[in-house]
Structures are given as structure tokens and as C-alpha cells.
Symmetry: C3
Subunit: 501 residues, 3 copies
């Protein structure tokens, strides 16, 4: 093994003298990393080598003028400017800020690179992302008492105790394998351990919550999020994040079927049939020339321009800027929350929910109509680059109608559920009990967690009839209403019968 | 903004003198459209520019000899022959026929181009399509009293009235967002409106039912269908329609899972793994050379030829020509209807259904055995280009067996449902009530609307074990039968108990 | 037609004199096949022509040194060495061994080529595959009395007899169209038939169970399996088998959702976004250079190497070698069986199952902890080419936790089911009845056949939150537990009520 490292070093040193490497100079520290890790972790190294970070120095990147520039920081430290962005450039940054920094072959390395590290070159993106609701995905779930009751009945370990199902709290591994895979885990250094490696004994930090790339990960420098959720290691590709497959990782289930609905839309068809000829690397991303139908990123994030290079929409990593409604995850669709930290929200019943159980808005915490309209106009600017006003307005009128209609259906269902709670057929919040653990309650949550929102996604993305009707859509939504209604009715009949003498 | 239009006009005029534009001459009228819309709608313009319509004049297209010719009309008006097919060529065609024609910068423009417009060059395709059941998708659904009862309980707005769930009729936006997204809406000009645009105030027609690209759209010239359902604007690509993603838009849900089943078949695997090397543009489409496994279009529509150019199957936009059975959407699989207008069908109980509730065929309205055999042989001609006779016959024997067996299972289930109706456990057509609005009735419709047909699709496309068994297949079909049977049995027991003194 | 054959023969003979054909010499026998079948079955012939078999002779293939060699047999018969591998080379091999051998234009042809034929050149792969559990997929299902009860209630034909649902045995066509599509059918020559073909009357064998390409097909030479399950005819591509679409054919449903989960993982995203630039043909397959994320084949089968060509994992067609756990298809996850023939297994209750109903292992028949650890280390060698030890260990710790937790949930549910059986609310094995035919029993099988295993797949492949939670995951698993528990409780209450005077 040691011979291989020496040989590799020699080869790299020879190559370092070549013109290729003068164009993309590798720092001495990164070279030391590569000497070993080319052998130990060829996948990582080759991934990095194929990316932009390995090809361009920050100084070269900053020499690009105008909106094509990919480095948004006004200044990048001189020490980082003239080498390509390699292993050491990121993994030795801000060592004292990272709880997982450890001594490794003479360098202070940290395992987990955070958005605060990326901010060195990508200040604007890091700043925007910190205002993105995704950056708060951990605490928005973990610190919400009502969501937590749903989490418990889904993730907890059930057992029979005296003929009853009792659900014990799930452990951290189950959490990290389930909800917090996407929402992000809390990373924490618990100890250090010595491992016997191919180059002898080495000491490493042990990190609870690792591995994880959830969008709201709590990092070892206290920062929130993981840029690698969408820009996977170690290519950190913009082109990849612009493709819908990236979003699929967390947006595929019935709770948030964005990917399935998108691919089944006209836009998705055009993407699937023609993306092989698109340019996913150009900046700004030119409508009609670089791509002929929107991907997720086009509508929600990317800097897009028209044929003449005029900007149609500015890049934003705070996705709310183009969103007026929040259509999934809660009982009713409602205007986007003002703050990405939704733990501050209280509805009129003092619950940490954006609406009450009757659909009333926790208005102080949600976008005003005026703010919604502004976000809608921002989104529509992209639509209007391909569609005329009547098309766009017609689409939006239907979407608003669908939000209103699905909310109305869910209200009818919630009224049925409330009757069941009031009459004692089920025990919910009013009875001081978990509102998600009984069969009837689960049918109720099926309706708003899966069907109501699938119908809205199908509408929002013009995603076709099937997701709006038969595939977790209006067919299933109306079915659940019938089921819950017949159940309550039957319970009432039985009650009446047993009340008779 | 006006400066940009002037600049663009100058650039286009310069380019118009170049050899590129002499090869693909743009009419003066289209040039005027492009002058503004290149700026206002770059996506549309670039899409069009990348397509065949922008590259070839009808005269050039008609000069192609033999089966490679893409223009099927014997004659194309002289005035349209020598310019490429641009904005004005389609949007100013037959102005008096279109209710949405309006004056726009000196031209009589209509918003919605219809199959009757496309017929100018593509007469054969327009004619065939008018005989396709898809062209009648609007009225086949909207004008069928029984289907309409299903539509109502799925799309309608439920509310609680005196403890009962009442379902109010859905509005037009809900319809357009759901069933009629695929089936097609009715377009109607309701008024005109003045909009303040970048180039001043302009007047536009307001079109109810717009936007829509459903296969049976009722157009503003009275024609039916939307070529853009499969050949998306403004590329109008044949290559796109030949890929399965196009069909996905309306054939993805459990009601018609063609896309999912196809991709999970051997054919789908070969497509997914190798289509990058296929030629989707060649005409005729050569088996084995241009493609190595069928897509949806190969089996159902395309003009396909063998290695020596001999035609294996003629192009048909009337898909029934290669279909013997109709395997979805109705209670039982049955021979294809004779007429694409299925509202004429009456079964022996005088219902507008191709079978009665016991599976008896409305024979006068369906293909005869002889006609079915002819359609089967047409389809098999394509199969036989890759598979020998024993393979094809073995496949077909299994498919016919599966149609028989699923119909038998559905008959057993319908008998159970009928007992429930007779005994008064549910209220259906016999009781003058909606047969789709109760929980038991919904389980019954799950069986034939989702499971029976998924099993048949899996068989028809040799789509593998999972869709035939565990993914909305025989597992779920047999489960529903057990559920409904146990429910009826339990009701009977309760009835017997309460009948006792 | 005959003229076309003559013409084709002439063209082929002319081409046979060209340098292209000297490089890839076609045997005289194969040439005779091609003369007709180029016309009759252009799809097959073109498919073959595009593959490696048509381009390289076994002698050329064997001249490749080292791990890049694709022919694993030490010796290939001289008679087969100097022509490319064409129609005749495979379809006339070992004629007396095949029950379907028939005289065809002077040759003894057999229809179904088997792994024993492929073994001629690919001895190692055939040998390994015979030890693969997939090779035994037919009898592992067909000869297991308990599985058979599940098969019967899913595939059988239900009818109402005296108000009861009776399920008649399914026929062979239904079997071949369902479970045995993937598991493999039993092929058997039943008779011969004369067919009127374009070249006159010809006699062919009639083969029951044909067509089929299931992984455990019982062939006409008595061998097991179909190489074409993963290397589709007639290209027999390695590149195709390396793509996940191949595995999709049998691993897409809720019973074994590997494909869906993979595509929704980070690995799947990288594959979907970047595989267009990968090299699927290189051998050995180089991590990071030929591909940047694993496909199914990378982890389970392929010969993979690092940047310097050092082997990271040996090719294996006996997939168990890298697997420690069996996570689907049975009530509980358990160590991989020792023998690919799992019909030999008996649990402590003498049932042919790897665990008893309480999760106790049929230990003698399953991998020991030590053997499991060895398989785990083999798998992890590939992981470690991209991930450091802490990442890999963290992943594995979560996976083991998820196996433990899902097994615990299923045990709780099975205890509820057992109570139902004991109390007589349902009739299972203890009552001498089918344990899968009642509604409650089906909910129980939903849990372990669909939900428990989906959660495990999501964990095994780091497949994201949705498949672990909302898409057939923990949400549905916990829901079924609540449903079955409430049902048993309700039955008990009713029982108590009727027991009262």
C-alpha cells in the first residue's frame, strides 16, 4: 500500500509540471490529500476532478464579468485565490469554528463542510439559503409539539402492553433514517476513536447524526443546512441541481409528490424527451436556447434570461420569493409563512400551526395578500417567457380554485372528524390525546397529508389528470370523506341502539 | 422595450439576407410576429426555431418521395408553399372559421390552432385522428349519464348538510383541472378584454376553457382534439411523440398505468437503457436499425419498416386499427367499440355502457370477432418483426386468458355488490341512486377501475410480475373481493341477529 | 418473398468478401440463418448485429489478458473459436441435450438457449449463477407449501358458491403471466405443429411455458435460469445489465421496491443526472472514472476497480456473496440462507420458513454472524472507495437498527394477528386454514410484504425519507398496526357484549 502511495505521488508530481496543472494549480496541502486519497477513495477524488472546483481558481472565477459569474462573494481571501478549490481548501477552513476539527497528517481537518465554509466564495447563496425555510427544516419539525405527535406514532416502536398498543419513543438512528434524512440531523462530536488504517493507527472524531445531507442539518459550527443536499459531493455540480432528479430525493412520496407530478406534466414530457440536447451549465440560463421547458430549478431558484441575455428572474436560494402558497404538509393550504422559522407561528387556538382546525389563517405569521401577489408576479415572469397572459392567468385562476376547493373538502372532513372527537368515538387534542394515532384519525391525515396536496401539486404544475384524479387525487380524497362519514354514522346508529331500553 | 424591438428587427433583417434564411424563408407576416415575440416570448420562438416547421417549406417537404414524406396533403395552397411554417402561417389560417379571431397589429389572428388548421398540410393525420376515440374524449365522458355520476362524486364539492354528506356540482375550473385536463375542455369566447402591454393597450379575446391541450378539446372552429397533446408547442416534434414520456401525461395513474407498466417491461428496459443511440426522426421508422425495442408509438401509431425499407405497418392516428380489446375504464374488458363516439352505445339494460353489469356485451356496438382478429393481426405484424410465431401466439394466448380471468373476478365481485344493492346494504342504480358514492361501491370501482385493468396492462405489454401481482394487481384485486364479501356477510349476520326476537 | 431472400443472400455474400466481415467472420451456418431471418425478423438480426457477439470471435475475446477478458472459460471448442457468436453458434449447441431440438432447413435447432449453452464461453458466470438464489426462483416458490397458499389466494379464480367465496386453482397461463413471469416457468415440449410460412410448410415444437425469461426458468435441457433476464436478446449487453432499468423489470412493486428507492437516493440522483457521460462497457469497471455513483450492478455483481486498476470487488453472479441480510418476501428480515435452494429450510415449527412466526431464526439454514460479517465486509469494500469508515459504519449501524425495529413492529403486529387466530376471529394455520385469505390476514401481510420491507430498502440504499416514511413506509406500517389492533379490540367488545345475559 505504501508503495502505491509513493508511486502515485511521483506520478502527480510529474503531472504537476505539466501545462494542464498550471492552468488549474493544486495547492500543496490538497496535493498531500490527493496522494493518499486517490488510492483510498478514488470515487471521491475522481468526482472532484470532474467538477468545476478542480478546474478553476477563485481568482479565475471572479474574473468573469456580469451575471455569468459563479462566485458571488465580493472578496475571497488571497490565500485561497490562486489554487483550485481542492480537499484542503474546504476541509481546513475555519478550523476553530468546527467541533470536529482534528489533527490529520499535520493538518487541522474537519469532516463536515458547512454552508458557512461555502460562504467564503458563495456569500450570496449562503445568505439567501439561511432565509430559506429548508434551512430550518430540523427545528421546524423537531420543535413543533403537534408535528411531534405525528412523528411519534409513525416512527415510534409499538408494543402490546396489557392488550393496548403502546408506542415507545424512537431512537436517533430511526429518526436519522426517516424524517430527518431529509429534514437534517443534529451533528455532535461524542468522542474520538483510533482506527487501524492502511497507513497505521489514526485518530478520528466520532460524530453522532453522521452521515446526513438533510437540508436543515445542524452542523458542527452551529450553522444550518447542507449545500450537498442538492449539489452532491464532490462534484458540487450546478448542472445536477438544475435537473429534477435532485429534488426527487425528498419530493417523491404522496406527502410531496412534486417529482412524479412534474414528470407527468407537459413540461416534464418535454424535459424527458429533449434534455439530452440542453445546456445545463450556462449562466445565466437562457430560456428557449439552453432549455425548452422548465425544470424545478427554473421556476424556483435559477437565474434565467431571455434570448438577448436580459434577466427574466434573479437567482434565489430563498425559494419563498417566488411562492405565494404553501400547499402541503399541513391541514389546509395557506399563504407562505413570513419567517422561515415556523416554530414562532401560533393560530387563534394558540397552536403552532399556520391555520386552526377550521382553516382560519394565523394571519400575522403569513404573507399578506399584497406579498402573495408580489411572489406570484415574480414566478409568473418566467411563465410569461413562453406563455401569453391569458394562458398564465387561466392557469392561476384554476390553481387558486383548486386551493379553495381542496381546503373546502378538507374542512368538511375535519368537521366529520371533530364530531367523532366530540362524541368520543376518537380521542384527539380536545381530550388531551394524540390526534394522529387512531384509525379514523389516520384516514383524516391521509386526506390532507396525501390527497389534498397531490391535487394541489397537479394543479400547480399543470401535472395532468391522473395526479389530480386517480393517483392519490380527488378519487381518493372523496373516498376518505365517504369512509369517515359512514364510520361516524355507523357509530351513531350503534350508540342510538344501545341507548334504547 | 421599443428600442429592443427595433434592434431585433434590424438584426433579423440582416439575417434575412443571409444564406441560412434563403434556405428557410420566413414570410413577411411571420417576421412581424417574430420581431416582437422574440422578446416577449423567447421560449416559444426558440422552441419553434429548433423544429422542422422553421426549417423546411411545404414545397420542400412535398418534394420528398415515397413513405418518407411528412406532408400527407395532396395539395398545399400556393400561398403557404414557399415560406417555412411560422407563426402567421398557422395563427392566421381560416380566420372566419375561428371564434377567437381578433385584430392584432393589422393581422386577423386566432389564439387556438386546431386540427382543422393542421389539416392544411397533414390531411391524412387529421382525417385519421377524427376517427380516433380520443378525438371524442370530451363528449364520451361529458355526455354519458352513468360516467357522469362517477365524475360528480369525485370532482364535486362535499359539505355536511343535516349530518349527511351532500356533493355540490363542481365548477368549470375544477373540471378543467381534473378529468378534462386529458379529455379536453370546451373552448368558448366569452368576451374581449383590453390589456396594458409593453407596446401599449391591446384587445384580446377571453376564452373559457383555456388553456387546455386535451385530446378531445372542443375547439373554437367546432373541431375536436389538440395535436399539441402529443406534439407539444411550438416544436411540434414527431420525435417527441415517438417517446413514451408523451403518453405518460395521461397514462400514468392506476386507472391507466400504461407508462409505468411499459417501463417495467423488457421493452421498457431496452428503451431506457439504449434509446440515447436511437434515431427518433427517421421516416419510415426502421425496426432494429432506428430503434431496438418498441415504444408506445411503434405498436400503436407509427409507420414502421424492416431493414430493406418494406413497410411492416402503416401509420395510423386512429389507434383502434391495431387494437382488438378495450381493457380499461369500464367494468369489464370488451371488444373495441365500432364507433369512436361511444355515447351511441346501449347495453341490453339500455344503459350507455359496452357491457351490462353481468359482463354481457353490447354486441351491436362492438367489434365482431372477425374484426378483432383483423386488428390483432395488424398489431402482430410489428411483433413478428422481432419474435417468432410461437412467441407471439404464446403471448396472445396469455393475454386473452388474463382478459377472461380478470373479467371473471370482476363478475364475482359485481355479484357480491349486487347482493348488497338488493339487500339494501347500499343504494345503487336499482334504487335510483348513484352507484359510486358509498364506501362499498368505491371498493367495487377500485377493483375494475384500478386493479383489473392494471393486471390486463401488465399482460398486454408483458409488463412483468409486479404490476400483474403486487402493484395494483392481483394481490389488491383479490383483497377487495375478500373485503366486500366479508362486509356483506357481516351485514347479513347483523341483520339476522336483529331479526331474532 | 423468395426473391427478397435471394437478393439478401447476394448482398450478404458480397459483404462477406469485404474487410469488415473478415474482421468478424460469420460461420456458414449462421449465414444461412441470416439469409432468411434478416427479412423475417429484422429486429432480432439488427439487435444481434449491434452487439459484441457479432463483432468478436471467441478466439479474439480470449486473447484479452487479465481482468478485462469477458470470456471466462479456460477452453472454448475449436469449432466455435474462429467465427463470431451468431445464430447457429448458440441455437445448434448441444442438440441432444435440448428437448426442443428440431430439424430446420438441414440444421438441428433448439428454440430456447439455456445457461448451459452460454457456459461454453462463460463458464464462471454460469457456475456462479447456478449458486444464486435467483436460479432457484421457480422451485423456491412452487415447492413451498406455505408460499403456495399465498399464491393461491392471489392468482386463483374466485367465485361465489353458496354465498362463500371459493377460489379455484389458477391455470398455467395465469401463473406465467403473474408470479412466474419473474420467477420463471417450467418449459416443456408438448407436441409439434406444422405452420404455413412464407417459405412453405415447416414443422416446429410447441413449448408449454413459452415465452418466458424468468430468472429461475426450468429449461428444456433441465438447467435453471435465463441469462436473457438481464442480458436481453439478441444484444446480450453487459452495459444494459449494468443499468438499473434491467433490475426494474422484477424489482419495482411494493414487495420489492428496489428500483424506486434507488432512483430516489443520492446515488440514484447522480446516476440519473450524469450517466450519459459514463462508460458502461469498460472492464473492469473503474470507480469514479467509468461511473461516479453505484448502480445495482456495482454493489451486487460487477467487477469494480480503482483508479489504478486494482480490483476493489470481484465479479459475482452469485449475489449473496455481498449480502448479509434478506430483507423482503418473508415475515421477518433474517440472515441470508446458506443454500440457494430454500425449500430445504425448516423453522422450529417445522415450517418451510427462515423464521418462525415469532421471528426466531431457522438458524441451521441461515448465515452465521461470522458469515454475515464477511459478506458485509465484501459489500463495504465498494462503499469505502467513495466513503470514509465513519460514513460507512454510520450507515450500517442505521441499517441494522432499521432491521431490528421493523422486525419488532412486525412481531407486535403478528402477536395481534395471533390473538385473532386464537380467539377465532380469523382462521389460520393453527385452524388448518389458509393464513392469507381473510381481510385481517391481508392487512397483516401488507405490513411485512410491503411496508416493513420498503422501510428496509430505503435504509439499505439510503433511499431517502419518503420511502422510509410516507411511500409504503413507516406511516403505513404503523397504520396497519392500529387497524388490526382496533379490529381485534372491537371484536372482543362485541364478544363480551354477546356473552352478557
Amino acid at each position: 500500500m505504501k508503495f502505491r502511495i509513493v508511486l502515485t505521488t511521483v506520478l502527480w508530481t510529474l503531472m504537476a509540471g505539466s501545462s494542464w496543472c498550471q492552468d488549474a494549480p493544486v495547492s500543496e496541502a490538497t496535493q498531500e490529500c490527493l496522494d493518499c486519497h486517490t488510492i483510498f477513495h478514488p470515487g471521491i477524488v475522481e468526482g472532484w476532478r470532474s467538477g468545476r472546483h478542480a478546474a478553476v481558481t477563485p481568482r479565475q472565477a471572479m474574473a468573469v464579468e456580469g451575471s455569468a459569474r459563479k462566485v458571488s462573494s465580493a472578496v475571497v481571501p488571497e490565500s485561497l485565490s490562486t489554487s483550485v478549490v481542492g480537499c484542503a481548501e474546504c476541509h481546513t477552513l475555519r478550523p476553530s469554528a468546527h467541533a470536529d476539527t482534528f489533527e490529520h497528517n499535520g493538518y487541522n481537518i474537519h469532516v463536515v463542510v458547512s454552508p458557512e465554509d461555502c460562504r467564503t466564495c458563495h456569500a450570496q447563496e449562503a445568505e439567501q439559503y439561511s432565509g430559506n425555510i429548508m434551512a430550518h427544516a430540523y427545528s421546524n419539525l423537531a420543535d413543533n409539539a403537534i408535528y411531534h405527535q405525528l412523528q411519534r406514532v409513525i416512527l415510534g416502536t409499538p408494543s402490546l402492553v396489557d392488550g393496548k398498543v403502546e408506542i415507545a419513543a424512537e431512537n436517533a438512528d430511526t429518526q436519522a433514517d426517516a424524517c430527518y434524512y431529509c429534514h437534517g440531523t443534529v451533528l455532535k462530536v461524542t468522542e474520538t476513536e483510533v482506527r487501524d488504517t492502511d497507513v497505521g493507527e489514526l485518530e478520528f472524531p466520532v460524530i453522532a447524526g453522521w452521515p446526513n445531507q438533510g437540508v436543515g442539518r445542524i452542523n458542527l459550527d452551529g450553522s444550518k443546512g447542507a449545500c450537498t443536499a442538492c449539489h452532491p459531493r464532490h462534484t458540487f455540480s450546478m448542472a445536477m441541481a438544475r435537473q429534477p432528479h435532485t429534488c426527487r430525493e425528498c419530493h417523491i412520496g404522496p406527502d410531496v409528490p412534486a417529482y412524479k407530478v412534474y414528470l407527468s406534466s407537459k413540461h416534464g414530457n418535454i424535459y424527458s424527451s429533449s434534455h439530452q440536447t440542453w445546456d445545463f451549465n450556462n449562466t445565466p440560463w437562457r430560456i428557449g436556447q439552453d432549455f425548452t421547458a422548465p425544470t424545478c430549478a427554473v421556476c424556483h431558484i435559477s437565474l434565467v434570461a431571455d434570448t438577448e441575455g436580459e434577466i427574466v428572474n434573479e437567482r434565489s436560494h430563498e425559494m419563498k420569493n417566488r411562492l405565494s402558497w404553501r400547499i402541503f404538509g399541513l391541514i389546509y393550504a395557506h399563504p407562505q409563512p413570513k419567517s422561515p422559522d415556523v416554530t414562532v407561528i401560533r393560530n387563534k387556538d394558540d397552536q403552532p400551526l399556520p391555520t386552526d382546525f377550521n382553516g382560519g389563517l394565523a394571519g400575522d405569521f403569513l404573507l399578506s395578500q399584497e406579498q402573495q401577489d408580489k411572489h406570484t408576479r415574480t414566478m409568473q415572469a418566467t411563465c410569461l417567457a413562453c406563455h401569453d397572459t391569458s394562458w398564465v392567468q387561466g392557469h392561476w385562476r384554476r390553481y387558486t380554485n383548486t386551493i379553495r376547493e381542496t381546503n373546502a373538502s378538507i374542512l368538511t372532513l375535519t368537521n366529520i372528524m371533530s364530531e367523532a372527537w366530540t362524541r368520543g368515538y376518537a380521542r384527539g387534542l380536545g381530550q388531551g390525546e394524540n390526534p394522529f394515532d387512531e384509525v379514523a384519525e389516520r384516514k383524516w391525515s391521509d386526506a390532507w397529508l396525501f390527497y389534498g396536496n397531490t391535487v394541489r401539486f397537479a394543479s400547480a404544475m399543470a401535472g395532468g389528470g391522473d395526479y389530480g384524479v386517480f393517483a392519490d387525487g380527488r378519487y381518493q380524497l372523496s373516498q376518505v370523506i365517504a369512509e369517515l362519514h359512514e364510520w361516524v354514522e355507523q357509530r351513531r346508529i350503534l350508540e342510538d341502539q344501545s341507548a334504547q331500553p
